[in-house]
């Protein structure tokens, strides 16, 4: 069980902003290539693996996205400071005072902010605006900055994982390296059904990789392994907390991208109950996952999302509880073990009830 946690630590130390997932993909490949029957990379950069099942069963796609939110250099000012655009959803004030790595070589930089002493009253009381912010690499002018940085370079947060508190891990990119770690571990097992393990790209800019991956796999059932929103901080209404850290993996009923397949969802929660694995339902409908894309592939796919609650998601300091990760792996394993029988049963019932 320690393995999956170590994988998360290793994976979150790697940079892979949407569109630049190569280093993450290389690491994942090194971990799984001995455990799968086939693998290939598609034009978009997805890593698609295949593991032949030992018996009958539906074609199952397991999905975890490799990319993380970050920034992209969009302009170099004459004073050598770098303007940027955000890649994926990042709140402006999260960017202030952060350390970053730029481009393939990881040129260090920081995101500065006008000192409070020099702000006028509107600035003091107002919110941070993304447009005001620039990255400082210490360059004296544009010419010097251009020696080190190109427009279009992606920018990652330079934060190393830290274990702290009671079973907690702080790291950048927990969304969705937790899913990648769980998927790596799942591929080490053996199953009755055929498994397509898909490590996808560009989820954060609109579920791009999941579209081409599911087109190639043509799954009947898909499980999306994710990190999800969690804000169980005091003075927050319980329904606004989304999920609770340390209370088990979260199942999505509905979000902005998908309504989970009811049968599959019931089967997953029944499995959790039967195996005494803690779980919870996500209480908000915000955000979206690859499930939204996979569901509408081909003639339609039964999808569900299992996720580790991540406090402060989409910041360089997101936080998870180790037990949630371990329980997510346990639950996914149990689900895959009994899935063929269960899903055929549901199929038959569905036919009787709904057609």
């Amino acid at each position: 069980m320690m393995e999956v946690f170590d994988l998360v630590k290793k994976l979150t130390a790697i940079d892979g902003v949407s569109g630049e997932e190569e280093k993450v993909r290389d690491f994942i490949l090194s971990q799984i290539k001995d455990y799968v029957d086939e693998y290939h990379m598609d034009h978009l950069g997805n890593l698609i693996t295949f593991k032949k099942g030992s018996g009958k069963g539906p074609r199952v796609m397991l999905d975890a996205h490799m990319d993380e939110v970050g920034l992209m250099v969009s302009h170099i000012n004459s004073d050598g400071l770098l303007k940027f655009q955000t890649v994926g959803g990042i709140e402006a004030r999260v960017l202030v005072g952060k350390r970053v790595r730029i481009g393939e070589e990881g040129i260090p930089g920081v995101i500065g902010y006008k000192p409070v002493h020099l702000q006028d009253s509107t600035e003091r009381n107002g919110a941070v605006k993304k447009k005001q912010l620039t990255i400082d690499i210490g360059a004296k002018d544009r010419e010097q900055a251009e020696e080190w940085v190109d427009i279009g370079d992606t920018v990652s947060f330079a934060y190393d994982p830290v274990e702290f508190g009671d079973n907690k891990l702080m790291a950048k990119a927990l969304d969705d390296r937790v899913g990648c770690a769980v998927l790596i571990e799942l591929l080490k097992g053996s199953y009755e059904c055929d498994i397509y393990g898909c490590f996808t790209v560009q989820e954060e800019i609109g579920l791009k990789g999941a579209k081409t991956a599911s087109f190639q796999v043509m799954p009947e059932v898909a499980l999306v392994l994710e990190g999800t929103t969690c804000y169980d901080v005091p003075d927050t209404k319980e329904q606004s907390m989304s999920t609770l850290c340390g209370k088990g993996p979260a199942l999505t009923i509905m979000d902005r991208s998908v309504i989970a397949d009811r049968d599959l969802l019931t089967y997953i929660s029944d499995t959790a109950k039967a195996c005494k694995i803690p779980y919870q339902f996500k209480k908000t409908i915000s955000g979206g996952t690859d499930a939204g894309r996979i569901q509408v592939n081909g003639t339609g796919v039964k999808v569900a999302t299992i996720a580790v609650p991540c406090r402060y998601i989409h910041t360089p300091v997101s936080v998870m509880d180790k037990s949630d990760l371990e329980n997510m792996l346990r639950l996914a394993k149990e689900v895959l073990k009994t899935l063929p029988a269960a899903i055929n049963l549901y199929r038959e019932q569905g036919g009787k009830q709904y057609v």
Binding site: R99, K140, H314
Partner: protein
């Protein structure tokens, strides 16, 4: 003997939240010991180093640079284990979201200042700033365990590994005013190379961020003939008044203004010209808000010079300074001290 950049990196990563400098006093004293004849730590944790002069009847020069840093103080512990906090020193709440911290409880604890993810922020709150009283520190423990480890009143410092940037520039927390402390060490290094008549006290002072507190006792304790204050000034940044910000790598900023001793300041500028030490002039029409304001009115009044190191993004965790500016600050101060008595 440590190179200036290396030393500053180490100094920046030390915690010494204003009012709790005892956390770092010994460390600073250790630095001074390498160069000074006497080093002591006073009741306030000001760290005082004395480098004796060669004169039979030496005058006294007092050089101060504060070593405290802005931070946070724990004001409450929630049943869920999250910590409430307030600012210790001038902190802009807009700059501390999603920040790593060290909570100095019964032991040092890692924590983060949480922020709500964009997915959960209602559109009507999107352009609102979050107040400090609505933020919490997450130390990853439940209520009972958190209360065992942390007490109300415990201090919190920012945790920020120094980033080495281009042009020997460093970014990190507490460059205000560990850059000044690094300059004190530069002065001591320089003074070792030359003969100086006066006794030189270098003092790393406390509680500047709370209102120049350490400088009050220091300027009373040490009867000085000349005071030199070393602090940071605003580095050149976009969208800031051009007479209040100073470019990096253009040398030490020598302050001119009513509270600063005119004779010494002019002589200091002349020296910089003669010795080709890079410098710039920092106009300060008010009392400067630095320890120079304390020196100037201490006892019978100490003639005071203010030397500043330009730092971008002051009072954020990415204060950014150029090592060459610290070196030029140390050199100018040391040459000025060594030149006294030969006038």
């Amino acid at each position: 003997m440590m190179e200036c950049g290396e030393l500053l990196k180490e100094l920046s990563e030390i915690s010494a939240v204003t009012g709790r400098e005892n956390m770092a006093a010994e460390k600073i004293a250790g630095l001074f010991r390498e160069y000074c004849d006497e080093v002591r730590i006073d009741a306030f944790y000001n760290v005082i180093g004395l480098k004796k002069g060669q004169s039979e009847n030496p005058g006294t020069v007092l050089v101060t640079a504060h070593y405290d840093e802005i931070g946070l103080i724990v004001t409450g512990i929630e049943d869920s284990g999250f910590l409430r906090f307030a600012a210790a020193g001038g902190i802009d709440a807009k700059t501390i979201g999603a920040m790593e911290v060290t909570v100095h409880g019964s032991k040092d604890l890692f924590g983060v200042i949480g922020t709500k993810p964009p997915h959960l922020i209602p559109p009507e709150d999107a352009d609102k700033t979050v107040k400090m009283e609505d933020m919490r520190i997450d130390i990853g423990f439940d209520g009972p365990k958190a209360r065992e480890l942390v007490r109300v009143g415990d201090m919190v410092s920012f945790r920020f590994p120094v980033q080495e940037l281009l042009n020997k520039r460093l970014a990190g927390k507490s460059m205000d005013n560990r850059s000044g402390v690094a300059a004190l060490v530069e002065i001591l290094k320089e003074l070792r190379k030359v003969r100086h008549e006066d006794n030189v006290y270098v003092v790393a002072t406390v509680q500047e961020e709370l209102g120049l507190i350490g400088a009050f006792c220091t300027t009373y304790n040490i009867r000085a003939d000349l005071g030199i204050v070393i602090d940071v000034c605003h580095g050149d940044m976009p969208d800031c008044p051009s007479d209040e910000v100073f470019p990096l790598d253009k040398g030490v900023a020598v302050a001119v203004g009513p509270i600063l001793n005119r004779k010494h300041t002019r002589a200091c500028i002349r020296l910089a010209e003669d010795e080709r030490i890079p410098y710039q002039v920092d106009p300060e029409a008010s009392d400067t808000g630095t320890e120079a304001a304390v020196h100037a009115v201490a006892r019978e009044g100490i003639p005071v010079i203010l030397l500043s190191i330009p730092s971008k993004y002051m009072h954020t965790p990415v204060e950014l300074v150029a090592i060459d500016d610290i070196v030029s600050t140390g050199r100018l101060a040391a040459r000025y001290i060594a030149g006294r008595g030969k006038e």
